[in-house]
């Protein structure tokens, strides 16, 4: 088994295969094409009311709003343009908390949220708000009973992400939305990794605020959107950025027409192609996993096996440290599940929240497939990973102890440092 695979020798200067689609995606060429006129001849300020330059730009942003809204079952007027999902999440959480401060002072979120949600909540704690950080179950999903118990008459907003950026699990959005609606609490979801990947419907799921990122869905960087429900119930929020009162006063600043058009086109393409794309990505994911598990033992897939998007895999390769594994797969652009490349030496907070043992968390990789992934790339990635893991396990003292000497690693007195 060990001799079948050798490290592929990449041609000089050949770029690594991109398998980090959760970090960002390339702009779809069709999106770029749609954007280009809005940089040059159609450069008007969409807020100019007095001439054609302004009118055509405003109309373009309106079409973009409709395209974004259509992706999530909303109306164009519900869409606020922002600079990206980080701003959308900040505006949703801080904006709602601040607006309703006089009446309510409690926020509920989850420990595996993106840093921008967690940091916005930490900031609000310093301002005097109370925040409940829900734990997750070992499969990465929240416990709905715990969520129900955490809600009080002081709870203003629940913020739970739709799809996790590290492990790809899908939270039970409809159930969360139903619960929040029954209890009169606003439900915000960070859908940066979900919009365009899974069907989202703000009505069916009772979502009151929803964050979208352009560059996660083959759109441009520097643009995002926030859905803010206008009725049943109406959501109000305090602006963070003040100025000309654009975006219903919730987000001032001149709209970047080309970026808005790009995000709109990206949403349109995602809606049109989602079913076909998911079918293809699922077959790639299954192929990749079967190639790996035919050649390697002791693989652990982190996160729920069913409730997940097809384009993400977070795998622990037991007995092989993540950073050295990344160094051995130079022909692949992936992300280490562990943050060991920083000074902290601490594995990912998401994996730790799942209760993944620290030694396994140190052995994790996040692999992301996407629109431009090919079957050939999937096969090459699997071959490369198999060769690297096989080589590194052959030089791993842990592999030797467990597999060749039958030692239980938990019985060893380690000299931690």
């Amino acid at each position: 088994m060990n001799n079948i695979y050798t490290l592929p020798t990449a041609a000089p200067r050949q770029r690594p295969i991109y398998m980090d689609y959760q970090a960002t995606t390339p702009c779809d060429p069709r999106v770029v094409e749609a954007m280009i006129p809005w940089f040059t001849e159609k450069f008007g300020n969409p807020h100019s009311r007095n001439h054609e330059y302004g009118w055509e730009a405003e109309e373009a942003t309106l079409i973009a709003r409709e395209q974004i809204a259509a992706l999530i079952g909303a109306e164009a007027k519900d869409i606020i343009f922002t600079s990206g999902a980080t701003e959308s999440n900040n505006l949703a959480i801080k904006g709602v908390a601040t607006f309703y401060k006089g009446k309510k002072n409690h926020i509920v979120t989850c420990v595996t949220e993106h840093k921008c949600v967690l940091d916005a909540c930490r900031h609000l704690e310093e301002e005097g708000f109370k925040v409940t950080y829900l734990p997750v179950m070992p499969n990465g999903l929240i416990d709905l009973d715990l969520l129900a118990q955490s809600l009080t008459d002081q709870t203003a907003i629940v913020s739970i992400m739709a799809v996790n950026n590290e492990i790809g699990v899908i939270q039970p959005l409809a159930e969360i939305g139903k619960l929040c609606r029954e209890r009169g609490v606003f439900f915000h979801t960070d859908a940066a990794q979900a919009a365009g990947k899974i069907p989202m419907d703000v009505e069916a799921m009772n979502i009151d605020l929803l964050s979208i990122s352009g560059h996660k869905i083959y759109g441009p960087k520097g643009i995002g959107a926030l859905y803010v429900r206008r009725r049943n119930p109406r959501v109000r929020l305090s602006a963070i950025i003040h100025g000309g009162g654009q975006e219903r006063g919730m987000r001032s600043g001149t709209l970047p027409t080309p970026l808005c058009v790009g995000l709109g086109e990206a949403c349109r393409l995602a809606k049109t192609e989602m079913t076909e794309e998911n079918t293809r990505l699922t077959s790639y994911r299954d192929l990749f996993l079967s190639l790996l598990s035919d050649a390697l033992t002791d693989l652990h897939i982190n996160g729920d096996k069913q409730s997940r998007i097809p384009s993400n895999l977070n795998i622990s390769f037991a007995f092989v440290e993540g950073e050295s594994l990344m160094m051995s797969i130079k022909d692949l652009a992936v992300s280490s599940g562990s943050a060991c490349t920083s000074a902290s030496l601490e594995p990912s907070y998401v994996l730790r929240a799942l209760g993944v043992e620290e030694e396994l968390a140190h052995t994790s990789l996040r692999i992301g497939f996407g629109r431009f992934t090919t079957e050939e790339e999937v096969r090459q990635a699997a071959a490369s990973l198999i060769a690297a893991v096989t080589k590194l396990r052959a030089m791993s003292p842990l592999w030797e102890m467990v597999k060749e000497e039958g030692i239980d690693l938990r019985t060893i007195q380690w000299t931690g440092h």
Binding site: E321, S324, S342, A343, L345, H362, P397, H417
Partner: protein, 136 residues
């Protein structure tokens, strides 16, 4: 993270990967680090009757710097006597590989592994002497 050519060379072509018989009296074994910290090094030396390290092997679970540090350590150990080996410093390893500051601990771990292997060898020798001396 940008690594030096020396480090990449030791990572891509690690020297002396493998194991020596840890039950052998002439072999000293050092096992340092912890899986939960993300690095574990096993370093072994075989010492001949003249007190010279004639062979050294390692296996390492850890980042590229940890693997390179232990590879370099085994290379330097070969041919040294025990007191020379005891004087190998983590700073020598760190300088040779141009380890970035956040990776200095890898060279410290390698020095710990050398010391642990020598200590294990010495303990075996003293036990052997004790065993060979008839009890009074």
């Amino acid at each position: 993270m940008a690594y030096s050519n020396q480090l990449l060379d030791h990572y891509n072509n690690p020297r002396n990967v493998g194991s020596l018989d840890k039950m052998d009296d002439q072999v000293g074994t050092g096992l340092v680090g912890a899986p939960a910290c993300g690095d574990v090094m096993k370093l072994q030396i075989r010492v001949n009757d003249d007190g010279v390290i004639e062979d050294a092997k390692f296996k390492t679970f850890g980042c590229g710097s940890a693997i390179a540090s232990s590879s370099l350590a085994t290379q330097w150990l070969k041919g040294k006597n025990l007191s020379e080996a005891e004087n190998l410093k983590n700073t020598d390893i760190a300088n040779h590989l141009a380890l970035p500051p956040v990776k200095i601990h890898c060279s410290i771990l390698a020095e710990d592994a050398i010391k642990a292997a020598i200590a294990d060898y010495k303990q075996k020798q003293s036990q052997k002497t004790t065993a060979e001396t008839p009890a009074a």
